[in-house]
C-alpha cells in the first residue's frame, strides 16, 4: 500500500476554524520557509557576514559573531545551499524543519511584543534590518525587524505552538489576527 506523506505545518491545529480578514495588527505564519544555520570558521566571521548580507532573496539573521541563520521565503533549499557552498569559510546545515517563521506587523506591534520580550525594541536601539537571538515567551527565539512596524520571529518548531498562543493572547487587546501567509 503506498504511503502518502503530507506536509503539515506544526501550527495547523492552532490556526483552525473560520478565516477572518486580516486586521491592521496581523500575525502571519510562513508555511515553508527555507532556513539554514550558517557557521563561520575562525577568521572568516566578517567575510561570511558580508557575503550573507549581500545575498539576494536571502535574509541573514544574526545569532552570534560566528553563527547566522539564512532565511529565504522565495528561494528553494537547493539554490540556497548552492549559494552557501560558494562562501569560503562557512559551514551550513538545513534547519527548515527545525524552525517556524512568523511575521508580525501593525501599529501596535511594539506594545504586543513588549509583553513577551524583555528587550528594548525602540528604533534607536533595534533598527530596521537588525536581528538578534533573545528570549521570547520564555523560548530562545531569533527576532528581526523588517520594517518600522514589522518583525519576524524564528522559533524552534517544538515550542512554536506555545509561543504562538502566547503572542495571540498578548495581541487580544489590540485585535491581533492570525493566518498562514498564502
Amino acid at each position: 500500500m503506498p504511503i502518502n506523506l503530507l506536509h503539515r505545518h506544526v501550527l495547523e491545529d492552532h490556526i483552525s476554524g473560520f478565516e477572518t480578514n486580516a486586521n491592521p495588527n496581523h500575525l502571519s505564519v510562513i508555511r515553508r520557509p527555507v532556513i539554514f544555520s550558517v557557521l563561520a570558521h575562525a577568521g572568516y566571521e566578517a567575510a561570511v557576514a558580508e557575503a550573507l548580507r549581500k545575498a539576494d532573496d536571502i535574509a541573514s539573521r544574526y545569532c552570534n559573531p560566528s553563527e547566522f541563520l539564512a532565511v529565504s521565503q522565495t528561494a528553494g533549499a537547493g539554490s540556497v545551499a548552492e549559494f552557501l557552498t560558494a562562501i569560503p569559510g562557512a559551514s551550513f546545515v538545513d534547519q527548515s524543519d527545525g524552525f517556524v517563521l512568523m511575521a508580525i506587523s501593525g501599529p501596535s506591534v511594539r506594545s504586543i511584543l513588549s509583553k513577551c520580550l524583555a528587550v528594548d525594541l525602540h528604533p534607536d536601539t533595534f533598527g530596521e534590518g537588525h536581528s538578534a537571538a533573545m528570549m521570547c515567551c520564555h523560548v530562545a527565539a531569533n527576532v528581526a525587524r523588517t520594517g518600522p512596524n514589522a518583525f519576524e520571529l524564528l522559533v524552534p518548531r517544538s515550542f512554536a505552538g506555545s509561543v504562538f498562543d502566547e503572542l495571540m493572547e498578548a495581541g487580544r487587546a489590540h485585535a491581533l489576527t492570525r493566518g498562514f501567509a498564502d
Binding site: 545569532c63 552570534n64 559573531p65 553563527e67 524583555a118 528587550v119 528594548d120 536601539t125 538578534a132 537571538a133 533573545m134 528570549m135 530562545a140
Partner: protein, 93 residues
C-alpha cells in the same frame, strides 16, 4: 543580583537569559600539576564580597561564554567581555 547585563554581542539583556557558572579569576592548573594545587583549585575558593569576575553563559542569546565584572554587594556591573577575549588577555599577561 545584577538584573541587566550588556552582552558584547547582543546588547542589554535581562539576567533571565543567562546562566552563571562561577568565579572566573581562579586559573585552571596544568593537568600535570600536583594534587595539592588541584585540591586548592577545586575546593579552596575565596568567597569575596565586592567586585568579582564571573563566567556567565548567554543561554537564550548568542550562546557564548562571557566574563562579567560585577559587584555582588552593590549589584553594579563594571564590564562584560567575551570569555575568549578574557582568556587571550590572560595568556598575554
Amino acid at each position: 543580583m545584577a538584573s541587566l547585563i550588556t552582552c558584547p554581542h547582543c546588547g542589554t539583556r535581562p539576567k533571565e537569559e543567562f546562566s552563571i557558572r562561577g568565579a572566573a579569576a581562579p586559573k585552571r592548573p596544568s593537568p600535570a600539576a600536583k594534587d595539592e594545587v588541584w585540591h586548592r583549585y577545586v575546593y579552596i575558593r575565596d568567597n569575596p564580597k565586592g567586585r568579582i569576575l564571573e563566567y556567565w553563559h548567554h543561554v537564550a542569546g548568542c550562546r557564548r561564554w562571557l566574563v562579567v565584572d560585577r559587584d555582588n554587594f552593590t549589584h553594579e556591573v563594571f564590564g562584560v567581555m567575551d570569555a575568549s577575549d578574557f582568556e587571550r588577555a590572560r595568556v598575554v599577561e
